[in-house]
Symmetry: D3
Subunit: 302 residues, 6 copies
């Protein structure tokens, strides 16, 4: 069960309202790498985890992310409080208010639709989506997703810090950014506490294809590196010759029942492409007098 | 520029049509961990990458994923070809056709809307979404996302293999699954070829908070592990005492201009919660005779 | 800040696994009327609420809804645990496993993509969407939305109870349903604690139109009720005569600058509909020999 | 059947084009509280309503909302007509045209993608979503949703009025806002015409939990009000002691079959968290020389 | 303004309830090719159309499509009425009710969430999306989109007819399908009433590239047809030789300011791929004893 | 299988960075009419096409569209490269950087979330959606959709050209626009190579309704044209008299089983609208002293 303590995990001191900056901060409230996505990612993993120690870690971090959601949401609320008050009371001149909420980003939507409160959208106004939460129910997979998610959240906070000059906002963002680093470290430890965590899952993969590198992009700029050359790699450069890699005919086929085959033939006959003529088309009809070669044919149809 | 060779990278031999299994395979065609998401993830990274060697790798793997999209799409097309033919020609009894496309999953939608071809949806019919592609434009972040994405794709293929008994489908899926393993290995090599890749990005994080573990979930089951204890961690167990971690008042604040403050007060007055009475409510009005204590009040209003 | 106690608010005792029933329960985990939507609706209102007493209530109920999210998520996890274990280890025959996860609903997606854990989707697999959270930042509006949301959540739980015969699941659902009733009562009390809460917001509305009922749907079945007749209503039955209600010309107009007018005329000329002839069309070209009247014209074009 | 009269329900007189203001107005055309959502909400309820009098009301108001959709759409079309003409004919200097459509909001998208016509998106460009329509097929629920939806629509119109200084636009918006007030009144009358409309639906709820208030958010700011205190409430302040409320063990459990249990154990063994060591991780490998305590271990791996 | 006549445009006589078939019909109620998308496509075009005759046609057909929405919605409501009644009253055994709503498709979601009424989702439960409406504000484009949309709607109705054996449903679907044919004919006439409708829009295109066919897919199966050969086409078969078609270097470039260039170099240095070594990776650490070649390196790190 | 040649199909020479223009270009990268949607539309058709010649054409054009995706993506990457470098290194003053990324459109989101690379969103930040791909698996339908899609893509490129004054960008856009014209011509030829392509699909439609035009929008502005008058049309102007067109009663009906009928009656009774009184409502309770007629009743309840 969750319990709420009215103090924030980190004090939020905003120097002055700035509704546009507020909408930029929504990226970490309702965006793909934001705190709600993080909290629910770990929470959903924790709910079905059977290893009691990992479950404990997942619930710990999920709960802390909810507290971070509260911190970033409070930052948004403070930055937008001035515009919200003006909009609610309607005491400003219309044109002045219009300018205030049209300063950039989606601050107009923030004011008109969300009333100046933190909304579960990203900085472009795109609503939060359940697919941001990429839990797959297998720890050797999910922990890697968590590591990556923490890395993404870290870089987004770094960018928000880079565009903020309000010291109180910068300070709180710095705290939130640092916690993502700490969480990434925890998830790394948890992943490597599982022996044989690679390849993820249970099936081992097929030895014939697991160390092959296919050089599908060719031309000036072709390069080598530890990801495609060295003793652990078999590299394919002659693509045409290698096709298909299984030595078959490289064609897709299926065995149909005879009535299905009959239907298939009937459909093919009905829609077959007539090969012997150059048909007049709608484009031919629609092209103007300067349309050239196919125009003579079309002209006859007018 | 892309060029297409009409041979598949891997031969697809489907034993017999199975439209329901076909819709399950859509998970890797138009689903979040599917081949289109993979191809476009690496392609979008490659387009703006400035390191020529990583760019080469990203374009190589992006292009191969497009070829895998072709393989999994061909599997879907073969599995659905029978139902498609029956639906197109409408020669079956209606009730029989109805049963055929209502065998499970979303095979009805596959037949009715998509006409039995591979559709850019997942196995529940949810359309592909651009946010599946989590490129963030920073290699120490993106490579971790790629590693995680390959792990997710691997486990989904493993599960599809577990439910398939058509040997040709199983065989092709096994190839596709194995290639995810190989790609993960390449991305790992590329990540660790960057010195100082942790923390991701440029800003270092705040030393005061980078090694703190906050034990926010407490009770029976509390546990320790390398992710929250040992010399590298400072652990907080007494949450209330530690609040807020910055030593401030744990409150969110903002300095408003005086006219904003006036508007705020006006709004607060207008919507303030009247504390001295227990108002009759719509629920009171709507509750039936058995509704109890508040009912007397409501009764007077009828 | 949020703190987590490892005990559930309500004990969950599931009699036996049932992955299909589990996917139905997702409606209240990641669906539009589910617990995450509820928790975040009240949480977002609480973050920007300036009335301290309502803020306290909103944070109380938001936090409880998170605890309900944990209860319903645990129900899903328990119901799906058997299928998850079978899928993970792949020890069953493929065909048997296929049947198990194709028993109805989206249990196939639950197993293939989400690995048998609770996912932030509804019972059709549609991902959670930030727009489920309809906070608008005005208490006389938001409290009405909360009342309606609790009513919707109540009826969905009622329906889930109606299709469940596992006594432990039924019991926990009954608790969750009842709490929605309690929350609705709280929100009703909070709404009616605000004097003059109707019309919502600040602007009063235009007296000429506030008591008019427009009878736009006419024919057999036209009816009267307290919503359209009686002393408080002015009813319009003769629609054509009343058009437009403002006494103007009922046309939309705008004053354009002269260069805009020139462009508009140029565009109109270029795309004007030629009135004097019956053009041959693509459909004429494409219709077969039995297409009738317009066919003669088309025939000349072949 | 629907019939269209070419006159608008309310005359639209726009003073001059303003494509940015036009995109703000989209909030009520294709946004969550807009006229299409309203019309389809009541229409979908009307289609399956069995009470003939409510059905009549629902069809009346649904039809009127379609007429409002026409009014607001006409406002958008008029406000954008100038930019549309300039864009279509391309007679302006490119840079000038660029500035004109980049004045704020999403007016660039309006011009580039939608060609200056009203689009089914909100003011941030988010496409209309079928889930805006929250019909649940139970009148005691749906009427509450309708009341809340009208309240939301009213406040959004109020905000649009606050930022508009074109008198013709203001006038038409005022009409539309007022009609939401009238509709809310009708839905209120219809709700309270149903006896025993609370709790909504049929099941009564469990008396043990229906009057309990759980004080889950604690600390400075804890408050009382008619929503959590007084004779009709049993209030829980000591959360830990009350857990779980049903007197059970507060744990989630399920009875698995023996083969499922075997699979579960096998999975747990394979992915168990190794408790006895502090593993070297990817983050350890990636941290630079200044990374501190865990660095020594990592260094050995280079 | 819209007016509603309580009679349907076409009588709906459903023989018996069938909630699964009902959910299939949703494809044309809230799906991409359904009646709401059609009505709103033409309505949005009509609102900003400046040619009075086309505007009249667009409003005529938009209004008729709303009437079709009513017909298909009534079919859904009738097919689901039985399940709705059972669910609402909860008089059936739970297990029996469970089976009834789990007969296929998304009839469970229809019953649990939407209460058995027509919902604005498609047959897989995907919510209606504003982007189904592809109005672009240029008649030579929009009329082509309308023609295509009518063709798609026609084929979806054809498929629904093929799986229905209820004569009343089949009859009404046949009417709706036929009307799509009539509408396509009208839109064709309107398109070809515009002289010079090809290419659509105003800019003529570049003669060097307008008649080129690029044969990018090569191998067994390469074919010719009137779409790529004949006097009106210049065909490119030797792709490599033709690259890039403009005769440039085929590279993307931009001129950066010097400070931007400095930043770019700094970023490149910080994240450059170290070319001289084969780094140990996270995958190396995670691979088990059987992992082969790279294992020796990893082993040293344990 | 796909192969990538590192040269672009068309050289991209961007004069100087312009991150706002870059986000406008996203419309054709990740927008509804963009190159990814085009490529995947034709690719999905090609995968299940059984006519070998059309399949060849579809794979040719799909592959070329991927190459166009690369060109437009490279334009975005070049236009955003300056802002990306500044953001990554954070060497600018915060306020200056803030201004740079807040110049319009969604360039803030581009910088903060996507790191300055091309993202699979449109110019308003809306993520790519699988439903942009409207393949239906029937060539007489799909080819019409392709023709319409090419027309839409053409007009969006035309508009982007109109707002660009960078000659290199303009040049590349002109190439891409022209290729859409060429592709439309190919698809037209392919459509008209199918005999009897109208009506699309197999079922012929009902002769009674295929040539009827229903004049549903009436009033000043009613017009005639080849789409509604002439020998090929039967036009209905007297709508009320014609209702319903089938000569039935214009009502929707279904035959329920007796237990379903009992449930229906029970539900109707429970929720019937009480006709004999004017109930006090929540709005009555909430209206302030100036609320008028219904206020007296409400006053008694206080």
């Amino acid at each position: 069960m969750f319990i709420h303590n009215k103090k924030l995990q980190y004090t939020v001191r905003v120097n002055e309202p700035d509704p546009v900056l507020g909408t930029f901060m929504l990226e970490q409230f309702g965006g793909p790498d934001g705190e709600l996505a993080a909290a629910m990612r770990y929470f959903s993993q924790g709910l079905s985890e059977d290893d009691p120690r990992r479950k404990d870690m997942l619930m710990d971090i999920a709960t802390e992310e909810l507290s971070h959601l509260e911190v970033i949401g409070s930052i948004v609320a403070m930055l937008c409080k001035g515009a919200k008050a003006s909009m609610t009371e309607g005491t400003m001149e219309e044109a002045e208010l219009y300018r205030e909420i049209n300063g950039g980003g989606i601050s107009h939507t923030e004011s008109i639709l969300y009333g100046g409160g933190p909304a579960f959208v990203n900085s472009a106004g795109v609503p939060f989506n359940g697919h941001y939460i990429d839990t797959r129910g297998e720890p050797t997979v999910d922990l890697r997703s968590n590591i990556a998610a923490e890395a993404r959240a870290k870089i987004v906070y770094e960018r928000l810090i880079n565009i903020t000059d309000d010291p109180g906002v910068k300070d709180a963002l710095n705290f939130l950014m640092t916690r993502e680093v700490a969480h990434q470290k925890s998830f790394e430890k948890a992943l490597y506490s599982i022996e044989n965590n690679f390849p993820p899952g249970k099936l081992p993969g097929d030895d014939r294809y697991a160390s092959v590198y296919v050089n599908t992009s060719q031309g000036e700029g072709d390069a080598t590196g530890p990801w495609n050359s060295g003793p652990q790699w078999d590299r394919i450069d002659d693509l045409t010759k290698s096709l298909p890699v299984d030595g078959g005919d490289g064609v897709a086929s299926v065995q149909l029942a005879s009535d299905e085959m009959d239907d298939l033939k009937a459909a093919a006959t009905r829609t077959r492409s007539n090969s012997s003529e150059d048909p007049t088309t709608g484009a031919d009809l629609g092209a103007g007098p300067g349309a050239g070669r196919t125009k003579e044919v079309a002209a006859e149809c007018q």
